[in-house]
């Protein structure tokens, strides 16, 4: 159904946006490299594809006048999710342009900031692209060539967002969030289970998070332990009684 599909796509966009931000943060540092530039480019393009898809879907859903009020509220909530993601993406694209211009790679001496990061960001990019391993095929002048592309893409995205503002009349502040404070501590948070080629990461989050709330966990565990103890004691008492009776 339309709603589920929407949620899935939004999840994907959200994930790619998060990864993109992580990659942009690595720009200009010791993690910066040709590969990073290529990762940025591909992640960015994927984000835009998802953005367009989301926008089309959501606008068509919202334009539908026959939907119920609850549905409409839900779509508006999804719309706010979508536009927030887009805002983040646009900001990061602009920032990556500025930093990319400041830190050229094809120069005799690269002036990258010694931030202390040594590894690459390939795993993050792989997560964004939903692949196992990234393959790098770009030219060596990707840093300059990509910047030109980036500029045009930024203007495209800006334009898209302006259109969104104009065409879709959703008051973001009127939306009520479904998540309460501290919801991030619970796992399985996503809007819907995204299944669009996502690498299923083994939930490295500690078991306690699934219990719900850090502060509650010790109590819960101890109560369980006490119950088990009493069960065992009861069983032992019963057995003892039977043994006594038998003799």
């Amino acid at each position: 159904m339309g709603k589920e599909e929407c949620k899935t796509m939004l999840d994907a966009l959200n994930k790619v946006t998060a990864c993109y931000r992580h990659l942009v943060i690595a720009l200009g540092s010791t993690s910066d490299s040709q590969n990073l530039r290529e990762e940025l480019k591909r992640t960015r393009k994927k984000a835009q594809e998802l953005a367009v898809a989301n926008r089309t879907k959501l606008t068509s859903l919202l334009k539908d006048k026959t939907i119920t009020k609850e549905d409409r509220a839900e779509y508006e909530r999804l719309w706010v999710l979508f536009s927030s993601s887009m805002e983040l993406l646009e900001v990061d694209m602009k920032r990556s342009l500025e930093i990319g211009q400041d830190f050229p790679l094809k120069v005799p001496t690269r002036h990258l900031i010694q931030t202390g990061m040594t590894g690459s960001t390939t795993t993050v990019a792989a997560r964004a692209m939903s692949v196992q391993n990234m393959k790098y095929e770009a030219d060596s002048n990707i840093d300059t060539a990509d910047l030109r592309d980036l500029q045009s893409e930024i203007s495209q995205v800006t334009q898209m967002m302006e259109e969104m503002e104009m065409k879709v009349q959703v008051a973001p502040w009127a939306v009520e969030a479904k998540q309460e404070a501290g919801a991030e501590l619970k796992s399985n948070m996503s809007v819907g289970n995204s299944s669009v080629g996502v690498i299923s990461i083994c939930e490295e989050e500690p078991k306690e998070e699934e219990g719900g709330g850090g502060s509650r966990d010790p109590g819960f565990a101890s109560i369980c332990a006490v119950l088990v103890f009493f069960v065992i004691v009861t069983v032992a008492v019963v057995l003892g009684y039977l043994v006594v009776n038998m003799s």
Binding site: I113, T115, K178, E184, I201
Partner: protein, 567 residues
């Protein structure tokens, strides 16, 4: 904008300043003690921040980002956030509620993305982000470099963060040679205590500053006190007092200006004033003229004159005086603090707010009042040299006559106090009347002029009139000289009139008796101004009549209320 690292081969203190700037703005961050963005002169480690988190491009620091960061931190810390973080979190949850789903989603995704990296890089990434937010959302009790406040000089619309504005941001870091220690760095306020405005014993560096220029001496309250002490010993304290009064006038509230200007005139400028200052005739002329319509800067010319006088004359002598030598000898030079890390922590914990500015202001006012009460009238007429253009000083004339010879009769201990300010009320009409008055007896319209004496005064006036006419003086200047004579007419109350038109025409008897009395302990024969031989007889007569001893200056323009006695 390209990254320019200034290569500074400077003194280590300069380097430390620059380093402090870098760390406070977030270009580098400390690995230990991450909340205190300072450069410590030890072996602690710092790391460069990634360009995304630099403040250079002045990208807006969004609350959305902060909320996402707090949510990520919540996940990482399993719900245990610091107090100020919790507060921010709750506040943002309330105000950004409509975006909260997005924030939670992003937080989780960003958290997972970061986990994709190798452990050491993940740690670095977390440190970077944390450092960024320490800069832009400083924990309580820390100083934020992003807090420009009133010192902000850069235009918010410009893109560049210039070096100059960076320096302005760090004024507190500019006390390079702070002894014993820079309070901003060590949390020890001794430096401030030792350098309070009116501390008993100043520091050596402060005393040295006074030798740089006269301006330095005056602008430091402690220096000014010392200078005042010296002047008191030299009996030229009125210069500094006048200068201070001028400052007070310039910086005071508009409501009090008129009153202050009158007070200054009475105390410093009028003939026979208790603390008469010695300024040249031209300046006096200009000043008195300006006092008719007083404004904030009316005394500027006189003030500058006195300032230059003090600078050229007294200042040099002060530098060689025993007062200054004594102060220099007693000045202290505190030892530099060497705090260990533990001590620094303790200092940070023991930070206390300083005295409330309200209390400080009260103390200032009290001190001022005390000083005002202790004013010594150093004006002994023996020491003052008369100035030619006496006629001008009365201030009522619209056209000060430069031709008037200093021959006007004047009683030694009866200063003329017609305030030019109040005369201005009806100056034009007054002058006209004066012109008429000169023809005959006329003491002029009582309401327009200062108090006019009784019969004795009138006769005296007539005498003077005739004399002046002979000499071709303008009647106005002549008229001015007549005012002081009024006091001699003790008893003839009816003629004494205040300047202000609203005043009752009848002055209370008590007034007359006190009228034009000075609180000056000078023998009657002492004369401030040259007096014509012809008048001496009159003077003496007046003097004997007027009474010797403690007299007080009262200005005629004051409202005649029963309790109003002093000028």
């Amino acid at each position: 904008s390209s990254v320019k690292l200034l290569l500074v081969s400077l003194l280590s203190s300069e380097a430390r300043n620059f380093g402090s700037m870098l760390v406070a703005l977030g270009y580098i961050y400390p690995l230990q003690d991450h909340k205190r963005l300072v450069i410590k002169p030890d072996a602690s480690l710092y790391r460069f921040q990634t360009p995304y988190f630099w403040p250079t491009q002045q990208w807006p620091v969004e609350d959305t980002d902060y909320a996402i960061y707090l949510a990520k931190r919540n996940i990482r810390k399993k719900g245990i956030l610091e107090l100020h973080e919790q507060e921010h979190y709750n506040r943002l949850h309330k105000w950004m509620n409509h975006k909260w789903d997005f924030i939670v989603m992003q937080a989780k995704e960003q958290y997972r993305a970061a986990k994709e990296r190798k452990k050491p890089d993940r740690v670095v990434f977390e440190c970077q982000e944390r450092a960024y937010w320490v800069v832009h959302r400083p924990p309580p009790g820390t100083v934020s470099a992003m807090d420009y406040g009133l010192d902000r000089r850069i235009d918010p619309n410009t893109v560049e963060v210039t070096g100059e504005s960076l320096c302005d941001l760090f004024k507190y870091n500019s006390c390079q040679s702070c002894l014993p220690s820079n309070p901003w760095l060590t949390d020890d306020a001794t430096y401030w205590t030792l350098n309070m405005p009116n501390v008993e014993i100043p520091t050596k560096m402060r005393v040295e500053r006074w030798t740089f220029s006269f301006g330095e001496l005056l602008s430091d309250p402690r220096g000014r006190n010392d200078f005042r002490l010296f002047l008191k010993k030299e009996f030229s304290g009125e210069n500094l007092a006048f200068w201070e009064s001028c400052e007070d006038l310039k910086w005071g509230t508009a409501a009090t200006m008129r009153e202050k200007a009158e007070q200054i005139y009475k105390t410093f400028l009028a003939r026979g004033a208790p603390r008469w200052i010695n300024i040249d005739g031209k300046t006096m002329e200009v000043t008195v003229k300006g006092l008719k319509h007083p404004h904030r800067y009316v005394l500027d010319a006189a003030q500058t004159h006195i300032y230059m006088l003090m600078k050229k004359d007294s200042y040099g002598r002060y530098m060689k005086s025993p007062v200054f030598k004594e102060t220099t000898k007693k000045a202290i030079c505190p030892e530099e603090h060497k705090f260990s890390d533990n001590q620094l922590e303790q200092n940070a914990r023991n930070r206390r707010p300083s005295l409330s500015p309200i209390i400080l202001r009260q103390m200032e006012e009290e001190q001022k009042a005390k000083m005002a009460a202790n004013v010594d009238i150093t004006q002994l007429c023996r020491f003052t040299t008369p100035v030619p253009h006496l006629a001008v000083y009365s201030g009522i004339s619209d056209f000060p006559s430069a031709t008037a010879s200093p021959s006007l009769p004047f009683l030694a201990h009866t200063p003329a106090c017609p305030s030019p300010i109040s005369v201005a009320l009806d100056s034009t009409s007054a002058s006209e009347r004066r012109v008429e008055a000169s023809e005959g007896e006329g003491e002029g319209n009582p309401a327009a002029r200062g108090p006019v004496g009784g019969n004795v005064s009138r006769s005296r006036m007539a005498l003077s009139l005739r004399r002046l006419l002979k000499r071709g003086c303008t009647p106005s200047t002549m008229f001015a000289s007549l005012s002081p004579k009024c006091h001699s007419a003790a008893g003839t109350s009816s003629r004494i009139q205040p300047i202000s038109p609203n005043q009752p025409s009848q002055a209370p008897p008590r007034r007359i008796a006190n009228f034009f009395q000075i609180k000056v302990d000078i023998p009657p024969e002492c004369r401030i101004y040259p007096i014509e031989s012809e008048d001496e007889e009159e003077e003496n007569r007046a003097a004997s009549r007027g009474g010797v001893g403690a007299k007080e200056i009262i200005c005629p323009w004051e409202s005649l209320t029963p309790q109003n006695g002093t000028g």
